[in-house]
Amino acid sequence: MTAMPTDRARRTRRGLLWALLISVIVLYAFPFGYLVLTSFKTPGEAIAVPPSILPGTWSVENYEQALNTRGVRPAFLNSVSAAVLSTGLSLLLAVPAAYGVTRFGTVSGRVFVMAALVTRMVPPVALGVPLVDMMGDLALTDTPTGLALAHTTISLPLSIWLMVSFFEAVPRELEEAALVDGCGRVGALIRVVLPVVSGGMAVTAIFAFLASWNEYLFSLLLTAVNAQTTPIVIANFQTQYGLQWGPMTALATLYSIPVVLLTLALQRRIVAGLTLGAVKG
């Protein structure tokens, strides 16, 4: 039967779809919400049987314990410095390379982009095994610099791909006009093209930052004490000191805050970057 639905039937159907969507979202939001709620319980209540959803007493004891655990504060600093260093390096290398690829349409450019794409398929563990030796040779094991270099192997190919898409969207006439006006090629790039793609550079920077901030395997292989990052410390909570779920949820919550804030502030650009990144490779 293909009778046309009445207005009323259509409205009920719409209402049902909304209800369905909202329940999906609630279900989806629950895990992280539960983590945050747990971080405000007392350390004892966090592991109580049976578990409760809301804290019986709201407490910041988990946060105090987490922040006073040895190694937590330096790990935060290490995470920030590795992420900032590798983001800077990624942009510094990716922006000129992507510009070279898009503006001159050479064969070498296409080969280069394909090579960068292949890098994405390399399992981190396959790269991590020899990187351990190499960083040892360069005396960069357990340093934020060594870690930042390792993280850049992940973020650089992604940055190149994103920047290529952003440069492709800039009309050529723009810099041709600048060249006619007497700018050099480098001048045209810096004064005319870069301002136009600054939004794209921001997206690229966020993805590079995220790649380093969230990275675990290289940090595990390449750091010991001095350059340990927060994900390693969070993971260590479960073995070294027994099951300290309370402080661990507090530390995990703190570690997520910068990223969540960044995402909320720039969400539309991030969506653009994600879909672009996916469709382009």
Partner: protein, 293 residues
């Protein structure tokens, strides 16, 4: 300076970096795979294809490879189905659902380590909230009835949950972006002709979305095959290695057993298989020549 050389000059620093920190280590990986290396003694002995024979002959390696494939299929198919369903929901509700899309986005930014711990905490047998809620809903009798992370039969599925949770929104976003480009009048015409929702989905929407879906599946597939942190945090490969995928096995062979030569041979095989599968996938599903993505 000729244009071509200027372009080359611009690409040179990035190419050098990738050469030194990606290509060269991979060359070392392949070279190491032909040696028996004892890190503590500092010895290095050429054994030809010995490590490869060991790797291919060991049931551990075969099991881990099989588990990696299964894990990838679980993760990618669940994400695709959930992502498609959610994207269709968002699409049928239109612009007014925009604020919900923002909420839906957040797990993408959460570190996999945090996601792994979080799910371990949610699923842990005696005091995990999931079993508690299932008990309260009278789906199971006792919170100890399902050992999500301790039962070897279901653990591979359980360790996939955080990955599915983290990245379903990525699938949703990409498919949603694709849906925005499906012409509304085509769907309207199909509706007027009496096409059911299922017909519209299989005859119009999915074929039109094919390139987008293919790319999303490939991207997610590559990530799932490489998964390490989420599984390492939740079970470290256990119980009884029931969740030990290739990344974890190679890590263990290298760090715990201290056999870099064998680990290198395994990693080389893993890399080669991955490149081969990825290229076949790109060539057959994507068909970039016929359908520009």
């Amino acid at each position: 300076m000729p244009e071509g050389r200027f372009a080359l000059l611009l690409m040179l620093p990035a190419a050098l970096f990738l050469g030194v920190f990606v290509a060269w280590p991979l060359v070392r990986l392949v070279a190491d795979s032909f040696y028996e290396i004892a890190p503590l003694a500092g010895t290095r002995e050429f054994v030809g294809l010995g490590n490869y024979a060991d790797a291919l002959g060991s049931p551990e390696f075969g099991d881990a490879a099989w588990r990696t494939a299964l894990y990838t299929v679980i993760v990618v198919s669940m994400e695709f189905l959930l992502g498609l369903a959610t994207a269709l929901l968002f699409n049928s509700l239109g612009q007014r659902s925009r604020w919900l899309r923002t909420l839906f986005l957040y797990p993408l930014m959460i570190a996999p380590v945090v996601a792994g711990l979080l799910w371990r905490f949610l699923l842990i047998d005696n005091f995990g909230i999931v079993n508690e809620l299932l008990t309260r809903a009278r789906i199971i009798d006792d919170p100890a009835d399902i050992g999500w992370l301790s039962d070897p039969d279901i653990v591979l599925f359980s360790v996939a949950l955080p990955d599915i949770w983290l990245t379903t929104s990525f699938m949703t976003l990409v498919i949603f972006a694709g849906l925005q480009n499906v012409p509304a009048d085509v769907l309207e015409a199909a509706r007027l002709d009496g096409a059911t929702f299922r017909q519209q989905l299989t005859r119009i929407i999915l074929p039109l979305l094919r390139p987008v879906i293919a790319v999303a599946l490939i991207v997610r597939g590559i990530d799932a095959v490489r998964a390490f942190d989420i599984i390492a945090i939740q079970t470290n490969g256990g119980p009884q290695r029931a969740s030990e995928t290739l990344s974890l096995l190679i890590y263990r062979t290298m760090v715990r057993s201290g056999e870099p030569g064998l680990a290198s041979a395994m990693a080389t095989l893993y890399l080669l298989a991955m490149l081969a599968v990825a290229f076949v996938a790109v060539a057959t599903i994507w068909r970039p020549g016929k359908e520009p993505a």
